[in-house]
Structure formats: structure tokens, C-alpha cells
């Protein structure tokens, strides 16, 4: 019975993993194919060629772009973690007038279609003189309703007694926030961190808008630079670039996962 269950579970887990991973593996395989092979719809490359990777790196300054993306994503991640956790803390542990209204207001910002804000934001950033700078690429994303919401949900599961105990010890709110709430929310913070990093990493239109030179441009622009419209796209090269671009994020995910696991292992709050 137990063995059967374990067996079934593994079978299911493996099936699901295959389904989830297939597209990524597929992209990986394509990245080793020649242009003709891709267009003829092969799944397995006849021979693995790294020419696509070489081409990808030659075509655009991928390494610089990667570095820029890394810096920008890291800054945004940091900013979002700080700003969101502060706000979420206020929403859960500080009881003040108008809190709920403010919270709903924050949530409401999630509802604003991003398309509607892009042009005015571009003008704002331009007025601030932040074009072509990391500031313009990062600061507008520091406040994230989604992050606030995520952390709020997690903070709410922290037993109230811990807050009470800290109150009684005369610990300041900030210290409670810093020493108790943040460590206890490691998993959520890591999750949010991964999320912010990845979304920033994957941004395209905004970096394109606010940058005018390769010095601060990010890797998604590079990706787009490899695709052509009227002329056949070289899919092998594009896929190679895709792989190069998602590799750091996947890596980050793995590392983050590991930490998550550790955090999770240490387990429940209670």
C-alpha cells in the first residue's frame, strides 16, 4: 500500500516534471540546430553545433547586457524587498487609522494596466533626468503592490503572541520588524526576491524606452535585437540567446530554491 503510493507519487512527479520541463529542453535542443534544421521542424539536432552560441555572442554585446541586467535586477529586487516589507509590516502590525483604506489603495495599484502608465512614466523619468541611468531603470519599480500583498499574507500568519511578547519586552517596532518578522518570513522574502529579480530580468519595453545606448541596456533588448521581421529569423541563434538569457535566471531559481528548502525545512512558525 505504502510502496504503491510512493511509486504512484514518483510516477506522477516524473510525468509532471517532464511536461513542465519539455519546452525548456526543447528550446535548449533548438539552440544547437542549424537554421535549416529548425525550419524543417526537427526535434533532435542532427549534430550539436555551438555555432549559434558563437553567433549570438558576436551579434550583440551579450555579456555587457547580462551584466547590466544583473545590476538592474539586483537593485530592483533589493528595492522591492525593502519597500514592500516595510509597507507590509505597517499593514499587519501597526494599527492606525485609515490603514485598510491605504491597503486597498495599494492593492488597487495592481489593477492599473501597465500600458496606461508607460508613457507618463517615461516623461517623468525624462524630466528627472534619469534616462540612460540605472535610476530610471530601477526606481519606478521599487514599490510593488504585489510584493506588499504577498508579504502581508505571510506576515499575517506570524502568531500574534510573538508580537505581543516583543511589545512587552519594550522592543521598538523596527527592531521587531528587523529581528523577528524578516527572519521568520525568509521563505516569502526569497520567493518575492526571485520574483522581482526575474520580472526585472525579463523586462523589455521599459528598458528599451529609457535607454539610448548599450552602456545600460539589458539583455532582453539584446534578445529582441536578434530577431528580425521581414527576413527569416535565425531561430537557432535566437534560441541560443534565449538559453543564455534564461540560464542565469534558472540558476538563480535553483539557488533560491535551495535556500527556500532550507528555510522551509526549518519549518513552521509555531
Amino acid at each position: 500500500m505504502n510502496v504503491l503510493r510512493t511509486f504512484l507519487l514518483y510516477a506522477l512527479l516524473i510525468t509532471c516534471s517532464v511536461v513542465m520541463l519539455f519546452p525548456i529542453v526543447y528550446a535548449f535542443l533548438i539552440s544547437f540546430m542549424s537554421g535549416a534544421e529548425v525550419l524543417q521542424g526537427h526535434i533532435w539536432p542532427q549534430e550539436f553545433t555551438t555555432a549559434n552560441y558563437v553567433a549570438a555572442f558576436r551579434k550583440v554585446p551579450l555579456l555587457e547586457y547580462l551584466l547590466n541586467s544583473f545590476i538592474v535586477s539586483f537593485l530592483v529586487m533589493l528595492g522591492q524587498l525593502i519597500v514592500s516589507s516595510l509597507a507590509a509590516f505597517a499593514f499587519v502590525f501597526l494599527n492606525f487609522k485609515g490603514r485598510d483604506v491605504l491597503f486597498f489603495l495599494c492593492i488597487a495599484t495592481m489593477l492599473i494596466p501597465w500600458e496606461a502608465t508607460m508613457i507618463p512614466n517615461f516623461l517623468t523619468v525624462q524630466k528627472l533626468g534619469w534616462l540612460n541611468s540605472y535610476l530610471g531603470l530601477t526606481v519606478p519599480f521599487f514599490a510593488l503592490a504585489f510584493g506588499i500583498f504577498l508579504l502581508r499574507q505571510h506576515f499575517k500568519t506570524i502568531p500574534l503572541e510573538l508580537y505581543e511578547a516583543a511589545q512587552v519586552s519594550g522592543v521598538s517596532h523596527f527592531r521587531f520588524f528587523w529581528n523577528i518578522v524578516l527572519p521568520l518570513s525568509k521563505t516569502s522574502l526569497i520567493t518575492l526576491g526571485i520574483y522581482s529579480f526575474l520580472t526585472t530580468w525579463n523586462m523589455y519595453l521599459w528598458p528599451l524606452l529609457v535607454t539610448n545606448n548599450d552602456r545600460v541596456r539589458t539583455v532582453q533588448i539584446g534578445l529582441k535585437q536578434m530577431q528580425t521581421q521581414e527576413i527569416s529569423t535565425e531561430w537557432g541563434v535566437v534560441m541560443a540567446a534565449v538559453i543564455v538569457v534564461i540560464l542565469p535566471t534558472l540558476l538563480l531559481l535553483f539557488v533560491g530554491q535551495k535556500h527556500l528548502q532550507k528555510g522551509l525545512m526549518q519549518g513552521a512558525i509555531k
Binding site: 505597517a90 489593477l111 496606461a116
Partner: protein, 308 residues
């Protein structure tokens, strides 16, 4: 924090007022960064959008002529817009429940204590590492009727060419499927976190009681997971309303506007057709639509949520 007590007890009313003032101030301090950034980068543009929605704009997006609610009136009569509304609603219905459900199943499986479970967790969350653009390109490949894998596999089963992205009847479903795949990783990760946060002694107690897996799921796991579930549904809902990238790459709103969801229609109107007025009007409508849905979700959903 550790201020000495005042010698003279001040009038209690005054204390209280001071205190509420102080707590409010403190709360605001924590919120200040968010509030400032929100105001500059979200509220201000949104207000501007609302303002534009009652204007006819020039190509630069400057208002040239006040038209009142004409933009709205036209939209509500426009079959194209109604089609967008329909597509959006359908898309939300296809994606949200499915991706939350699938992610929940995966999270439940991955929550078991098994050897090598970490590997599976990583696999399941891997789609989170994929950008929408990259994933869409891959899916576009897979959907390709002539060279795509999906049709190749299906042809093994004798199912002939399905035009995944070209048939108006299934294009939306196809886009939804790829979207679900893209969303699962993240939803999974969040749900897994929620599951792991449940006090293990409650499971121990249930194990001793000898209840079946499903019963435990229904009576213990899900209620205790409800804050997380609530969160992911709300967020998926909002995100789903705002899906853009995959539509742009996979179908460009076609065929026959079948996948022309409102956000994509806004995008086209604003950035390709330069009808900022109409785009703004759609944005405003979308905003209020999501607002209503989210409000309902909070009002009725959060009631069932059990915190702590």
C-alpha cells in the same frame, strides 16, 4: 521607545489623541516609500489616463479636444471592443482556475517528504525562471502547425493538423494553455511555501485520527492554506486580466480578434494606432472592471480565509 513616564498624568483624551497621532505617523513612515513611488509612478499616470479618456488626442498623446464620454460610448457600442471584453473574460476563466488548481496539485505532491523531492520542486518552479517572451517563442514553435512538436505528437494518434493559433475557436485556448504553463511555476512556489507553513503537529494529529488523504486535504490543508490560496487567486486574477506578452508574440490579437484581450487592444490603440483617448478609455474600463472583481474577491473571498 523607553521614554520615562510623565510625572503629571495629562488629560486622558489628550493622551489618546497624541497616541493615535503617533501610531498613524509611524504607520505612514513605514508606508512612505511605497506611497511616494505609487503616487509618482502609478496614481499620477492613472489620473492622467482618466483625464485623457475624455479627450481626443493627437499623435503625441496630447489632448486636443474634449469629447466627454464619447470615447466610452463608442467603445460600448463597438463590436470589436465587446469581442475584447468577451475574450478577456474567457481568458480569465480559462487560466485562473486551471493554473491555481494545477499548481495546487503540484504543490501538494511536492510537499510530500520523499527522496529527491527538491529536484522535483525545482522542476516545477522552473517556468518561473522563463521570461514571457522566451516562453512564448518556444510555445510558438511548439504550436506551429507544420513543424511544431504538438502536431507531430498528435499525428501519431491520427489527429490531423490542428491550427492551434489560427483557428479562432481554439486560439484563445492555446494561448491560455501556454499562459497556464508560464504561471504554474510561480503559483506553485507560493503555494508550496504556504503548505510548508502549516503547523506540522496539526498533520500529526490528523494522521493519528486516521482520516483519509482527501478528507485531510479538505478539512485541514485547504482551510489552513486559505490565506495563500486567496493570495494566488487574487494575483492570478489580476495578472490574467493584464496578460499581454504572450498574446503579442503568439497571435497579435488574432485570428479575427479571438485573442484580442483588452490589454492588447489598449496596446494597439495606444502604441500602434495612436488613439490615446480610446486606449485610455479602455484602460479606465479595465481598471474598474478589475477593481470590481478584486473588491468582490476581497469581500467574499477573504471572509473564508483563516489567518493564523
Amino acid at each position: 521607545m523607553n521614554t520615562p513616564l510623565p510625572v503629571q498624568p495629562p488629560a486622558s483624551v489628550q493622551i489618546r489623541r497624541k497616541r493615535t497621532m503617533r501610531t498613524t505617523l509611524e504607520g505612514i513612515t513605514y508606508l512612505l516609500p511605497s506611497l511616494i513611488l505609487f503616487s509618482i509612478f502609478l496614481f499620477y499616470p492613472m489620473l492622467r489616463t482618466m483625464y485623457l479618456s475624455v479627450y481626443l488626442t493627437d499623435y503625441q498623446g496630447n489632448p486636443v479636444q474634449f469629447v466627454g464620454i464619447e470615447n466610452f460610448v463608442y467603445l460600448l457600442k463597438d463590436v470589436n471592443f465587446l469581442q475584447s471584453v468577451k475574450a478577456t473574460l474567457l481568458f480569465v476563466c480559462y487560466t485562473v482556475p486551471t493554473s491555481v488548481f494545477l499548481a495546487l496539485c503540484l504543490a501538494l505532491m511536492a510537499n510530500e517528504k520523499l527522496k529527491g523531492i527538491g529536484l522535483f520542486r525545482t522542476c516545477f518552479s522552473s517556468t518561473m525562471g522563463m521570461s514571457v517572451a522566451a516562453s512564448s517563442v518556444i510555445w510558438m514553435f511548439m504550436y506551429n502547425p507544420s513543424i511544431g512538436v504538438i502536431n507531430k505528437v498528435l499525428s501519431l494518434f491520427g489527429i490531423s493538423d490542428v491550427q492551434w493559433l489560427l483557428d479562432p475557436k481554439i486560439a484563445l485556448v492555446s494561448v491560455a494553455i501556454s499562459t497556464i504553463w508560464m504561471n504554474t511555476g510561480f503559483t506553485f512556489l507560493i503555494l508550496l511555501g504556504g503548505l510548508q507553513n502549516i503547523d506540522p503537529s496539526l498533520y500529526e494529529s490528523a494522521r493519528i485520527a486516521g482520516v483519509s488523504y482527501l478528507y485531510q486535504l479538505r478539512k485541514v490543508t485547504l482551510p489552513l492554506l486559505s490565506p495563500t490560496l486567496f493570495f494566488v487567486t487574487t494575483v492570478s486574477l489580476i495578472h490574467s486580466f493584464q496578460t499581454f506578452g504572450q498574446i503579442d508574440i503568439l497571435t497579435k490579437g488574432g485570428p479575427m480578434d479571438a485573442t484580442n484581450v483588452i490589454v492588447y487592444s489598449i496596446y494597439k490603440d495606444a502604441f500602434i494606432n495612436y488613439n490615446f483617448g480610446s486606449a485610455s478609455a479602455q484602460a479606465v474600463i479595465l481598471f474598474f472592471a478589475i477593481l470590481v472583481v478584486t473588491f468582490l474577491q476581497f469581500k467574499f473571498g477573504e471572509r473564508k480565509v483563516h489567518y493564523q
